[in-house]
Symmetry: C2
Subunit: 385 residues, 2 copies
């Protein structure tokens, strides 16, 4: 394995009833901004639990952080924070609220053109604001990493960033907060978690024997619990295992010292941008195509995946890979997530526009070996029609 | 799974050549004490690498921290630190040096009778000294946890403690530092890592599906690499996977929200105290006995262990458990670690003394269900004659 560093100081507070611990996790001297999205937390009781825990704190609310959080929205929060002298940010929601809050934390004391944080990876020389999170929708791993994605409507850019200065101090993960989630968000979250894992696993052998086992452990757990959980949304054990898998898939641990792919995500982002399909749906469409197109480069790990994750031991290597890809598709479909473009009413009309966009961005040699080309992109899209 | 918190802020710096990073990991304003053991680091080149990296730092050395670090030795370091105004501790060695350094960090500014830190879990109200570590012998996980064990020769106590205030800031893990280790230390370390994992895994089902997979991943990796590594001590890939397994077995992750046993360790400590067998040897003797004596209470996890870790799918449940225990024994023996008391020339003469000691300490209802009795202890010892 390659040299690596692993440093993740997030305090994870996991379990039912843990939202009440906000009372002690945040200093009473802090002036807290509670940030959330469209108000689902008011329906599922999370808002009430948060406010009850913070009854002795000074609290300001900021709602309306949308899916794919918009720079314009987040800058409104920044203005209020500066005006009201807020000094602690509590993000309550899913990946979008958490990501948006990280950007806000970075932006509040930033000197210069704020979007440069995203577009130019501008260094954060001024203090960021401390962040805590209450997670209500697992998938992005944002609760235990320093990643955030923000969309700029003006420039039509959706950019990702990683800044250690905005890593949350703590994250509360209460599986009961997921009990009222719509099915589609759960199924998308399971697919997203699965593919966060495969992006760090289905590459080439790199002597990270333990990392491989850890990745396989997440995949096998998702396969074990996913379909059951879709039928039993208020099952605490299933919910808690899904939640913990999502965190572990993207807290850095399974990827240390290992090659990573992420092409499925790059193509998926474009499908979302062009056609509006959900993020999880877009990944379920793309992954089988990538595995097919790159089956020879990924062969060793695909065979390992077939044998260890899907218990496929019959037939030759090619057969094992075929069955493993088919089982992956079946798994996504079993969750209710369709895996072909045509399932979403998408034809090949805009394939060349997608290609042009990859070309313009210089995404012409990507993936774990930098061998995924525009030609491969077109093959993947054709295969998934 | 049960509610839990997971908070581990140690900065892990992993890989060959990483010792040179000490130069930037420790502030040049710090006055550094480098603590080590009997001088093996002078033979394997680690000492030279450390000193080269710290050439711009003020450095004081403290050597002679023994295996099972002694309170009396550690207090000598405390005196020097107070006198010389040392403000950073760099532990270079294995678990004993790291553990001893944690005690020193806690003791330097402690007001009151210092041994109370160990014997009475006295709170650390004064600042502790920051710690960095360079690990040369994996097994105890001390590089990524806040545990430490210290022996008091006067009172004949060997006590363990956990204090978050002495968690290392960083730990450098360079697998090449292990290349010159004696075989016996490696085999003991592999057994110790294996049994740190089983203590958190071979209990009863607790719906921590991911934690189970993570534990199985460590066990399977050790089984895969252990015997190969014993024959190929300078194989970097094998060394690095063992080193990373040892850290992951005891950094808290696989145990979150799960029942834990630790009786094998409790009995093993006594075998070491009474007969002087190595820690790893003592565990290899005891574990098969515990699994046999508690086979019905642990049956569900033992069957899971048989099926998932050892790929045993033939026969009935009892047969699977029998084979799994035998394979575990065979694995330890394949590393060169003997598993019977008689292999070490130990007979049953002092069994009653061991029992009396457990009784005196109140260790009469221990293990994951608090059902392991003095009677069970005697059965284990008889079985492992």
């Amino acid at each position: 394995m390659e040299n690596f560093s692993f440093h993740n100081s997030v305090n994870i507070v996991f379990g039912k009833g843990q939202i009440s611990k906000l009372n002690t996790l945040i200093n009473k001297k802090n002036k807290v901004m509670v940030l959330y999205g469209g108000g689902s937390i008011k329906k599922n009781g999370v808002y009430d639990q948060v406010m009850a825990a913070l009854k002795d704190h000074q609290v300001i609310e900021f709602s309306g952080i949308e899916p794919n959080p918009a720079y314009e929205t987040l800058m409104k929060a920044v203005e209020i924070i500066r005006q009201k002298k807020v000094d602690f940010l509590l993000a309550v929601g899913g990946g979008s609220v958490l990501d948006g809050t990280k950007f806000i934390s970075a932006a509040v004391n930033f000197k210069g053109y704020t979007w440069d944080i995203m577009s130019k990876n501008a260094p954060l020389t001024e203090p960021t604001l401390p962040i805590g999170t209450v997670l209500t929708l697992p998938a992005t791993g944002s609760e235990m990493n320093a990643n955030f994605v923000v969309t700029n409507k003006d420039t039509q850019e959706k950019l990702g960033m990683n800044k250690k200065e905005v890593l949350p101090q703590f994250s509360i993960l209460d599986p009961e907060a997921m009990f009222s989630l719509p099915e589609r968000q759960i199924s998308n979250g399971i697919v997203d978690t699965f593919i966060h894992t495969t992006e760090q696993y289905l590459t080439y052998p790199a002597q990270g024997y333990l990392q491989d086992r850890q990745a396989e452990g997440i995949l096998k757990t998702l396969i074990e619990i996913g379909p059951k959980y879709m039928k039993d949304k208020t099952n605490y054990d299933l919910a808690s295992n899904f939640m913990w898998c999502a965190t572990n898939a993207l807290n850095g641990l399974i990827g240390v010292g290992m090659p990573q792919d992420w092409v499925t995500h790059m193509i998926g982002h474009e499908l979302t941008a062009f056609y509006g399909v959900d993020h999880g749906q877009s990944l379920a469409i793309v992954l089988p195509g990538i595995l097919e197109v790159k089956r020879s480069e990924k062969a060793k790990k695909l065979i390992q995946y077939a044998e260890r994750v899907w218990d496929i031991h019959e037939g030759d290597d090619n057969h094992k890979i075929d069955i493993a890809i088919q089982r992956t598709i079946n798994f996504f479909e079993s969750l209710g997530v369709k895996t072909r473009l045509s399932d979403y009413g998408i034809d090949d009309e805009k394939f060349n526009d997608i290609k042009a966009r990859f070309d313009r961005r210089g995404l012409t040699a990507i993936g774990e070996r930098q061998t995924f080309t525009l030609n491969d992109l077109m093959k993947v899209l054709e295969l998934r029609k």
